[in-house]
């Protein structure tokens, strides 16, 4: 593809998108990301198609990604010619007739299910503007800017909304070193958990010998309560592909690999479809935009292993081996996938790159606070009224997240804890409302922002029970390579289970600390080094919960008295081991 061709493509895309989104035929969009899918969006879509064909209504239909308001799914919106987009929340198949009959044909809004309108034009009276909903108003969408608005794998829709112009700008007007400087200046830090400056990370790969070098994108995303990587790939995979290609250009890499956990079917399908479209339109492959830059992207899958998200284990998995972490040094920049120089980035980190290049580093660094620039993509779930996938500016307080975005703790209960940054992260107590989403501030508070998951726990959550579930997860997901993690997690789980079963032994707390200390100092990778984290932070914030279990044999919330559902117990061959009930 030459430079002229891209201009042509851009024109074609603009015309296509103008006709589709603002033409004479209504455009109906439905959110079919995981949240929508789980809420029944495909049943709604099927019904919608049936009704439209039965009634011979001419309308364009797109499956789109997640607008962030997961609580409102299935979320349907109708853009009639001359009208704004009108959103219908929590739609079921039964509501379709009414919506089509009422709004599409007769322009009368149903009494329920109407969430609001977005855009300009004739406004139905009873509808409120979407901007007034906190879940929209408080968001500042960069990586997710297209999510919920365009069909995910459709390259033309993406180009029409400004897509690939960042890559175009980088390749045609900038030197690779300028791209890296731009990313460094933006202050972008890796969103995978370690918050390492992305530009600096990229610069490690620049000096490594080629010609074959890999940029890897990590979408293992196995944390319970984290779905923002999957959200991006499902809602707007082209953003990632563009970011990956920019990273490839900046670092001189020849290949990009998007690593997705086996079983994340939506992200896998949509990313693969997007890659195909990108190749078809000449946006990937040989001599992109007529330059010397050639770049290939493929999707690699792995077995279902949490540790495969660790960067060196991920490389083993890409090579088709058992996903166990390697030791370092040698570091990936010297010896990565297939022994070639490699660089691993999180989906989110890469997805910021197109906008940073398009709009400049100053624009990006102006967003956020302190050393945490840009936005945070929060996966809000748990005991909260409005769970969702919210992209907000860094620096928002956790209180705003829970109360404003999330609409408060569900059932009018009190906030007890926030579990952040995945199971290896930690828990924060009820006094954490004033903590800002800031990598460094969260870390000093004893938690990490990590991958962005925030699970809200109400007063009904027992800290011991929650700890048990988190530890069981960490134990189950240990790869089994290094001794401290393989054996330590096993014993930690056993002790926590003992406590939650009111069968604790004297000295159990100290024993946990000593095993945890061994794991922390001795483990090979982060999984074992952080494996004691959930217990330590639970003990710090909720020591009383532990005390009442140990000393009084009482679970204050009663949840430890109920039958326990835990991940499969993988202690060695102890199938008959009593686990809870």
């Amino acid at each position: 593809m030459t430079q002229d061709k891209f201009e042509e493509l851009k024109t074609e895309a603009d015309t296509y998108w103008e006709t589709r989104s603002n033409g004479n035929i209504p455009l109906i969009r439905i959110g079919t990301a995981m949240c929508g899918h789980a809420a029944g969006a495909y049943r709604v879509a099927d019904k919608l198609k049936t009704v439209l064909s039965e009634r011979s209504i001419e309308a364009n239909f797109d499956e789109v990604g997640c607008l962030g308001l997961c609580y409102a799914e299935p979320l349907l919106d109708i853009k009639k010619p001359g009208s704004p987009r009108v959103f219908f929340n929590n739609v079921t198949a039964d509501d379709i007739d009414q919506i089509i009959e009422g709004y599409l044909i007769n322009n009368v809004l149903p009494e329920s299910n109407v969430l609001g309108y977005m855009g300009e034009g004739e406004v139905p009276e009873s509808a409120d503007a979407m901007e007034n909903i906190p879940g929209i108003a408080l968001q500042n969408r960069i990586a997710l800017r297209n999510a919920g608005h365009i069909a995910p794998s459709n390259a033309l829709q993406y180009i029409a909304t400004g897509g690939y112009s960042g890559l175009y700008k980088a390749v045609t007007t900038m030197e690779p070193s300028e791209v890296i400087d731009e990313v460094k200046n933006s202050g972008l830090r890796g969103r995978g958990g370690a918050a390492f400056p992305t530009g600096v990370k990229w610069s490690f790969l620049v000096g490594s010998p080629g010609p074959t070098k890999y940029i890897l994108c990590n979408c293992e995303e196995g944390d319970p309560g984290a779905y923002n990587d999957k959200g991006i790939l499902e809602s707007d995979p082209h953003t990632l592909l563009e970011g990956l290609a920019i990273a490839g250009y900046a670092t001189g890499a020849s290949n990009g690999i998007v690593f997705i956990r086996h079983g994340h079917d939506g992200p896998i399908d949509r990313t693969e479809a997007a890659i195909t479209e990108a190749y078809e339109n000449g946006l990937l492959g040989e001599n992109i935009f007529g330059s010397d830059f050639s770049f290939d992207i493929e999707v690699a899958l792995t077995g279902e292993s949490y540790v495969a998200g660790e960067e060196t284990a991920l490389m083993e998995a890409v090579e088709g081996k058992r996903s166990m972490p390697r030791f370092r040094p040698p570091f990936p920049a010297a010896f990565g996938v297939w022994g070639k120089p490699s660089n691993i980035n999180n989906v989110k980190s890469l997805s910021y790159a197109p906008e940073i290049i398009s709009k400049g580093s100053e624009w990006f660094s102006a967003i956020g606070v302190n050393q945490s620039t840009g936005t945070a993509i929060v996966c809000l779930s748990g005991d909260v009224n409005k769970p969702g996938l919210y992209e907000v500016s860094m620096g928002m307080t956790l209180g705003q997240v829970v109360d404003d975005l999330g609409g408060g703790v569900s059932g009018g209960r009190e906030l007890k804890l926030l579990q952040t940054g995945g199971p290896l992260g930690g828990v924060l107590g009820p006094d954490s409302r004033d903590i800002h989403i800031d990598f460094d501030e969260m870390r000093s508070a004893g938690a990490i922002f990590g991958s962005g998951g925030i699970i809200v726990g109400s007063e009904d959550v027992c800290a011991v029970d929650l700890t048990r579930v988190l530890v069981a997860f960490c134990q189950f997901e240990s790869c089994g390579k290094c001794f401290p993690c393989r054996l330590g997690m096993e014993h930690l789980l056993e002790i926590v289970e003992r406590i939650s079963n009111f069968q604790s032994k004297p000295g159990d707390m100290d024993l946990m600390r000593s095993v945890g200390g061994t794991m922390e100092a001795g483990s090979l990778c982060g999984h074992g080094q952080l494996g004691f984290g959930p217990i330590r932070s639970a003990i710090t914030h909720f020591e009383s919960d532990f005390k009442s279990h140990i000393e009084e044999n009482i679970c204050p919330t009663g949840s430890c008295n109920r039958p326990k559902i835990v991940p499969k117990n993988t202690r060695p061959y102890a199938n008959d081991f009593a686990t809870g009930d």
């Binding site: 390697r326 370092r328 790869c479 290094c482 401290p484 014993h491 000295g507």
Partner: protein
């Protein structure tokens, strides 16, 4: 070697090789850091975390920058000026924490039993009912690295962690090895040894987190998983999880390093000898240059014959048709008296490939000087053509490079040699090299393990190899790929080059059945490689063309400059363990000592039968060491032996040979001998007596000396084998450089003679058009590989031994198939002389007149393990081509 790196470990200034990791640097300087998953020579793994240290590296401003955390010393590279602490309180407590976790799942009665101080070293406490976790129930008790480490760390063993035994059933159904996964610490040494060192993936890590454990890669049995039963996994296992089944519970009273008697690699094995004077285990020596810690199924599991109670223990003389035991003086007197009658060329002496250099030397001296007979040979010398042309053309009498230089070669050409089974350890560097990108070309009718690694596998028609190699050489000349300098420096290059014009590739395509393009590609691959090596065994090639074939192979190496040049060598693959020594010392029919030709008239293995039948040989003395006289190769020996007037047999066991012998002398096994072996590289190793004399068996050199002295000869007054060795050094020029101390320590390469290289003109042989007679019209090429992942092995696990139950597939040519009314998938029967097998027909593009089948190595091992034979490995099937007929059943 680059400059050494200086660093400080625990205050001690040490030097180490650049690129080492800390633990290696410590080991090289005799400092100990506890470790469990690391193993010298294998890549670091970093799992056990026992070898953690504190380290700091100097910065340019003179200060020291500490490495973060407690890095594992097995994965941390050393740097100049580094300071390492290995025993701080913090590190010790971390190690103890990890060991606490480890013994919480490892049975540790051996460490904390209350009877530890009460029990003597040989006590068996099985009647002590209060002990339920016993040291004696671990096969590696007192050989366990975990136990040693726990003791070194002075653990108190008072952890409150729950003890959690895995309660897994033992896996004891596969041949030779026992697997007790309750003792496994999941260090994955075995998996890495199998994968990384041996290039097999027979065992693997399975499951995850606390359940991760070792298993076979196919999940059922080693027989189907690609195991070559080399025992490398057992050798590296730190605990009792993997052990040799035989003598599992026996303890070593002493350890003796000796040389394996099964093939010419000359593996150095550390032999464990029990108090009952048995060899209970063989552990390859890690530092030995010949085998570098490797062994194979023969050396690891095939030495039990020395422990047999069926060994002949007294001399016997046949009296009225019955062998009667007698004393040595009587037997020797009898022999020396009898032999006086056959001192004019009517006597033949056949030595054993397991004889030491001392045996060979004295034997040939006796045969030649006392018996005045040139008829001296060893029983494995059935393919003298393997080495003779190489010697004639280059003066090299051994492989021209060393075994482990194959690691650095860029291309390996393997012609008609199944080294995986015959000289197994040679295949290890080849497989490792292949994993690093070395190209492999295999020329063989049989599917052998190396064909699975081959970039190009050529399967020519039977006995068309000369044409095929000629095709290589013609391509190289046509495309000017030869090494011109090397060619010009060899004699007779012009004649040689002119002889190649006869090799027309179109014609060769017809005679070999191999497409021209493939021949050209292979030739280019070999010629373009910077360093190429050639391995040849002539195993499938008929006797009448072997010599020409070997010449062609040597020509190919000469013209590409791939001979005697570091990692580009030529390796003749004969089979006898000390056949090399026999040739060097003149104990073969072709040569006197120093490779002086004997002339045409000498009788050797190739013409022994006709000489016996014609009455030329009337008396024969055979050092049996239980030889295999291969019927197809050299005819029916036993029938011929009966023709002779006097048969003297030296042997370990009663055999078909002793049944016809007039005198039987008990012969020592290698385990009772003192002497030297020479391996295929020309490396002289010591053979040391590991088990003491258990019978009256004696070594050949002493027996021959005594007979010679009784016959009035002088020059046989040797007191011990060292006297013989001294004489060898005087008489044999290539052995003059040897220093017995060096030989004893790690083996020493004998001196190589320098001689100008010569090409040999090889005319195209008539490819013996129809060698098949009407009764057996098909030539059957049996193949064997370690694993066929595409085909189910059909393992029957129902009895107490795993067995392979599948029926083999037989490849046949379409026209042969239609001639016999055979269709794809039919059950067919192959029958030859003393051979029969059933199979399923697979009609494909194999040459007309040929059939082939590929079995699993597992079935060979199964046969060996279940064999009732005294020395099963010696008689293991060698995959030779057979003439058969096929029919549908």
């Amino acid at each position: 070697m680059a400059d050494k790196i200086n660093l400080t470990i625990d205050g001690v200034e040490v030097q180490a090789d650049p690129g080492s990791v800390i633990i290696q640097a410590a080991m090289d300087n005799d400092l100990y850091i506890p470790y469990l998953c690391y193993y010298p020579g294998m890549k670091p793994y970093g799992a056990c975390r026992m070898c953690v240290v504190k380290a700091e590296a100097p910065t340019p401003d003179g200060s020291y920058r500490p490495l973060p955390g407690s890095p594992a010393s097995c994965t941390t590279p050393i740097s100049e000026g580094m300071r390492v602490e290995t025993n701080t309180d913090e590190l010790v407590s971390l190690r103890k924490g990890i060991l606490d976790l480890l013994i919480s799942e490892h049975p540790h009665g051996c460490l904390n039993c209350h009877r530890i101080d009460l029990c003597g070293p040989t006590d068996v406490c099985l009647r002590h009912v209060t002990v339920n976790d016993r040291c004696v129930t671990c096969p590696k008790n007192e050989r366990c690295e975990l136990k040693d480490t726990v003791r070194y760390m002075e653990m108190e063993l008072t952890t409150p962690l729950t003890y959690n035994n895995r309660h897994l059933p033992l896996e004891v159904k596969d041949p030779y090895w026992d697997m007790d996964m309750n003792l496994c610490i999941v260090c994955a040494r075995c998996v890495r040894a199998c994968d990384e060192v041996r290039g097999d993936s027979a065992i693997t890590l399975k499951d995850r987190s606390g359940r991760s454990i070792i298993g076979t890669s196919q999940g059922t049995s080693l027989l189907e998983s690609g195991c070559e039963f080399c025992g490398a996994c057992i050798d590296v296992c730190p605990t009792g999880a993997l052990v040799e089944r035989d003598y599992k519970w026996d303890k070593a009273e002493k350890k003796v390093t000796s040389t394996c008697p099964h093939c010419p690699v000359g593996c150095q094995l550390s032999l464990d000898v029990s108090k009952r004077n048995k060899i209970i285990r063989a552990i390859p020596e890690r530092t030995a240059e010949a085998n570098r810690g490797m062994a194979c199924y023969k050396g690891k599991f095939g030495l039990d014959f020395v422990n047999s109670r069926k060994k002949i223990d007294k001399p016997m003389i046949r009296n009225n048709g019955v062998l009667e035991e007698t004393t040595w003086p009587t037997a020797l007197d009898f022999i020396s008296e009898k032999l006086l009658n056959y001192r004019n060329g009517e006597f033949a002496l056949i030595g054993s490939p397991r004889g030491t250099n001392e045996d060979h030397y004295v034997g040939q001296k006796f045969g030649r000087d006392v018996m005045h007979s040139a008829n001296v040979d060893i029983s494995s010398n059935t393919h003298p053509e393997i080495t003779k042309p190489l010697g004639d053309m280059t003066g090299r009498r051994t492989s021209t490079s060393r075994i482990w230089q194959l690691l650095d070669t860029d291309c390996v050409l393997v012609v008609s040699s199944n080294i995986t089974e015959s000289q197994n350890v040679v295949s290890v560097p080849i497989k490792q090299a292949a994993a690093n990108g070395t190209k492999i070309i295999v020329v063989d009718q049989r599917e052998t393990e190396l064909t699975r690694y081959a970039d190009i596998w050529l399967r020519p028609k039977v006995d068309s190899e000369i044409d095929l190699i000629g095709g290589f050489m013609r391509t190289i000349i046509d495309e000017s790929l030869e090494d011109n300098e090397a060619c010009q420096s060899c004699g007779e290059f012009t004649e040689f080059r002119n002889s190649l014009w006869d090799y027309d590739l179109t014609d060769i395509e017809a005679t070999t059945g191999v497409p021209q393009d493939e021949i050209r590609n292979a030739a280019r691959m070999f010629a373009n490689a910077e360093n190429a090596s050639t391995i040849y065994g002539l195993e499938t090639i008929s006797p009448q063309i072997r010599e020409h074939c070997a010449k062609a192979i040597v020509n190919l190496a000469l013209m590409t400059g791939n001979i005697d040049n570091g990692p580009s060598g030529i390796y003749p693959m004969f089979k006898g363990a000390n056949e090399q020594g026999a040739r060097d010392l003149g104990a073969c029919s072709e040569y006197l000592p120093n490779y002086v030709a004997t002339g045409e008239s000498a009788v050797g293995m190739t013409n022994l039968i006709e000489s016996l039948n014609s009455g030329k040989i009337k008396a024969i003395e055979i050092v049996g060491d239980s030889p295999t006289f291969d019927e197809d190769q050299v005819g029916d020996f036993y029938k011929a032996f009966k023709q002779s007037e006097l048969v003297i047999a030296h042997d370990n066991f009663e055999s078909a040979l002793t049944e016809i012998a007039d005198v039987v002398l008990p012969s020592s096994t290698f385990a009772e001998k003192t002497g030297t072996y020479t391996n295929l590289e020309g490396r002289v190793h010591c053979v040391n007596p590991s088990i003491g004399p258990s019978s009256e068996a004696d070594e050949e050199w002493r027996i021959f000396s005594q007979i010679a002295q009784r016959m009035g000869a002088s020059g046989f007054e040797y007191r011990n084998s060292s006297d013989v060795f001294v004489e060898i050094q005087e008489k044999v020029s290539s052995y003059t450089n040897l220093d017995l101390d060096k030989v004893k320590k790690n083996g020493q390469i004998m001196r190589k003679e320098n001689q100008d290289f010569q090409f040999a003109v090889v005319t195209r042989a008539e490819v013996s058009g129809d060698t098949t007679n009407s009764e057996y019209p098909i030539i059957f090429a049996p193949g064997r590989v370690l694993q066929q992942p595409d085909r189910d092995a059909g393992i029957d696990t129902s009895s107490d031994k795993n067995t392979i139950t599948r029926t083999e597939i037989v490849e046949i040519n379409a026209s042969d198939a239609s001639e016999h009314g055979i269709a794809e998938g039919d059950n067919i029967k192959l029958e030859g002389q003393g051979f029969s097998m059933n199979g399923i027909a697979h009609v494909n593009g194999i040459h007309k007149g040929m059939a082939a089948s590929t079995s699993l190595f597992g079935s060979l091992v199964e046969d060996l393990a279940n064999s009732g034979d005294n020395d099963p490995v010696l008689k293991s099937d060698s995959l030779r081509l057979r003439k058969v007929r096929i029919e549908k059943i």
